[in-house]
């Protein structure tokens, strides 16, 4: 199809769909209104299980199954991307060059920022059930923070600080732990992913029953997954070149 024909086809279809959607959204409850039946029940449920971040309560307790699926998506995507970014049969990995070309100030910034970022990340994970944030947000920060070593220009140090296999395990163990807590719920409380341990006091660090556990599992998985993902893209951009020889499998 020519570009022009494609565009015309798009405009015809898009116009029709747009009309339907606009007619549809005109029927939606007005923006900012107070019709939120699920909200009321979800807040009550979160309070009853002493989880002061209601979003975390929905994510890990009330609708924990969604999050199990979500973590599986993450696992599948990271493993999928890692598989796709493996060196092909006709490519070789060349050794990475260390340092040398980075500005001293940038390097200093990288070294300084990394521990700070990691601490922030862990804090966001640990308080996920009481304050905004959680395993996902903190995990991404941690997984990205490790890569500040690259900003610091120290790729070899990054490779040492980032044992890829360990991260692959971390990812698998995080996902597996989530699933295991779910199964334990069946054994202990008769329902999958049931909140089966004492819920603690509302608003304290130790509260929310299984929520912090699942939150932690997600944190481990996401941090490892992000690290693997960025590592694979870095590897492609820096190390893998077309060339003779056998690729690493």
């Amino acid at each position: 199809m020519s570009r022009r024909a494609r565009l015309m086809l798009f405009l015809a279809g898009g116009g029709g769909l747009c009309a339907l959607l606009l007619l549809g959204v005109a029927d939606l409850p007005p923006f900012g209104g107070s019709f939120h039946p699920y909200r009321t029940h979800a807040v009550a449920a979160a309070v009853s299980h002493a989880t002061s971040n209601v979003v975390s309560s929905v994510n890990f307790d009330q609708r924990g199954l969604d999050t199990l699926g979500e973590e599986s998506i993450l696992l599948a995507s990271v493993i999928g991307a890692a598989t796709l970014l493996r060196p092909a049969k006709d490519e070789t990995e060349r050794a990475a060059l260390g340092g040398g070309r980075t500005l001293e100030s940038t390097r200093f910034l990288g070294y300084l920022m990394m521990p700070v970022t990691l601490v922030i990340g862990f804090d966001v994970i640990a308080h996920g059930h009481v304050t905004p944030g959680g395993g996902f947000q903190g995990g991404v920060v941690v997984g990205t923070g490790i890569h500040l070593l690259y900003v610091a220009g120290n790729y070899p140090a990054l490779q040492r600080a980032r044992p890829l296999r360990a991260f692959e395990w971390g990812e698998a163990i995080g996902a597996g732990a989530f699933a295991c807590v779910g199964l334990a719920g069946i054994a202990v409380a008769g329902a999958f992913l049931a909140d089966m341990i004492p819920t603690g006091t509302f608003g304290q660090l130790f509260s929310g029953g299984t929520v912090p556990l699942l939150n932690g599992a997600v944190g481990v998985e996401v941090a490892s997954g992000t690290a693997v993902l960025l590592a694979k893209f870095l590897e492609q951009a820096i190390m893998i070149r077309p060339g003779p020889g056998r690729g690493r499998r």
Binding site: L22, F31, R39, A42, I73, L84, F233, Q236
Partner: protein
């Protein structure tokens, strides 16, 4: 104003699709896909918004729970959605990198491996 947020979300969905249709670069197409998806974030959060309500997080130490908070359920859904977006984008970018390696181009108009 009462439907403006929804109209923006519809706009984002369609403009992203438009971007894919006229894209000359698959990396760009993948980003357009994520723009389409951001329409769903805007829609979901707009649905859950309530004027004058506070975030559904009571903090540490906790403030007194109230029902006058914005809808936490759509926020949980959007969180899942953000994760999905990031991971699918990563996957598709990986595919794009490999496609470029094998074809020397990312222009869909020039990729001719799957016709008929």
């Amino acid at each position: 104003m009462s439907v403006y947020a929804y109209v923006v979300s519809v706009w984002l969905l369609l403009v992203g699709a438009f971007g894919i249709v006229r894209s000359r670069n698959l990396i760009h197409a993948v980003l357009c896909l994520s723009v389409s998806q951001s329409g769903t974030y805007v829609l979901l959060l707009a649905i859950g918004y309530q004027r004058g309500a506070s975030p559904p997080v009571f903090g540490e130490p906790a403030t007194k729970p109230t029902f006058r908070v914005v809808d936490p359920v759509v926020q949980a859904m959007t969180l899942t959605d953000v994760v999905v977006s990031a991971t699918v984008t990563a996957l598709l970018l990986a595919l794009a990198v490999q496609i470029h390696k094998r074809n020397g181009t990312l222009d869909p108009d020039e990729l001719r491996n799957l016709q008929g």
